[in-house]
């Protein structure tokens, strides 16, 4: 009987932990703009180094994910905290005219830049209007 109770408690604890993790994701602020050739996403992820960054794209979506690595001494107590977690995550839905195989990403000073090229046939062409 005792054992059963213990199992139940640990299960609910695990679920609770998972829910809490989901709640405490930081949503990076982004700028998104489009020009004739590509769509550019710039996301702010201060504290994330190249090895802790995960950018994934497939036909349907773009996932940006990263973990902050902060130089902290052990036994540090928080006096004040605007940010209360270290995980960033944000997703976007992509559309078919984007060439997801040729996405490029770069990271500098915590600023992630993702460039998603448009397929050649979808690039904007200037149409010249002939005036007779």
């Amino acid at each position: 009987m005792k054992t059963n109770q213990d199992v139940a408690t640990s299960e609910s604890a695990a679920v609770e932990k998972k829910t809490r993790e989901r709640e405490t994701v930081l949503v990076p602020a982004v700028d998104i703009f489009e020009d004739a050739h590509q769509i550019t996403v710039q996301a702010e992820m201060p504290g994330v180094s190249k090895d802790k960054l995960n950018v994934q794209a497939d036909r349907n979506g773009l996932l940006i994910e990263g973990d902050m690595e902060i130089d902290m001494s052990t036994g540090m107590a928080a006096l004040y905290a605007d940010l209360q977690t270290t995980r960033y995550r944000r997703c976007f839905v992509l559309s078919g005219e984007l060439e997801t195989e040729r996405i490029e990403a770069s990271l500098k000073d915590g600023l992630l830049t993702v460039r998603i090229p448009k397929r050649v046939e979808f690039r904007t062409r200037k149409i010249k209007v002939n005036v007779p």
Binding site: E34, G47, G75, L79, D82, G110
Partner: protein, 148 residues
């Protein structure tokens, strides 16, 4: 799959702080503690965290893509102020869908514990995080007393 780095520490410090704050919020409808006179509303750029040990106080400013040389840091007694500006040059030939990144001047003033030593301050900027370390005065550190 991922480790939470703040949470990886024994104290699990920011998580505890957040939980305590939300529990208090549920009880009272808002934080029962009086807000600091220099406290700003949530979402102010840049977000900061402040952590302390017996030896030092660390202030973290989360600001990606800054020119660290142009930052203006000053400390007067236990009052630390950081100001600067971040200009985001707009792409003229592009059409914008989202513009969430902060563009402009910023200033934040942080009240530190009274025993910090304003003469011993270090600052470094890495991966978009400005970390300012202020040492605390020796005299106020807890001292081990041996019973003879």
């Amino acid at each position: 799959m991922f480790e939470n780095y703040f949470g990886g520490l024994d104290t699990d410090l920011f998580e505890q702080f957040r939980r305590l704050e939300s529990e208090m919020g549920q009880l009272f409808g808002h934080s029962p503690w009086p807000a600091g006179i220099r406290a700003v509303q949530r979402g102010t750029f840049p977000p900061i965290n402040v952590g302390a040990t017996a030896e030092r106080v660390d202030v973290y400013l989360f600001a990606a893509g800054l020119d660290a040389k142009k930052l203006d840091l000053s400390i007067q007694q236990n009052l630390l102020s950081v100001s600067g500006s971040r200009r985001i040059e707009a792409n003229e030939n592009a059409e914008y869908y989202r513009r969430e990144r902060y563009d402009g001047d910023f200033r934040r003033v942080i009240t530190l514990p009274d025993d910090v030593d304003p003469e011993r301050v270090d600052a470094k900027y890495r991966d978009g995080v400005l970390q300012i370390t202020i040492q605390r005065r020796e005299a106020t550190r807890p001292r081990q007393i041996t019973v003879s």
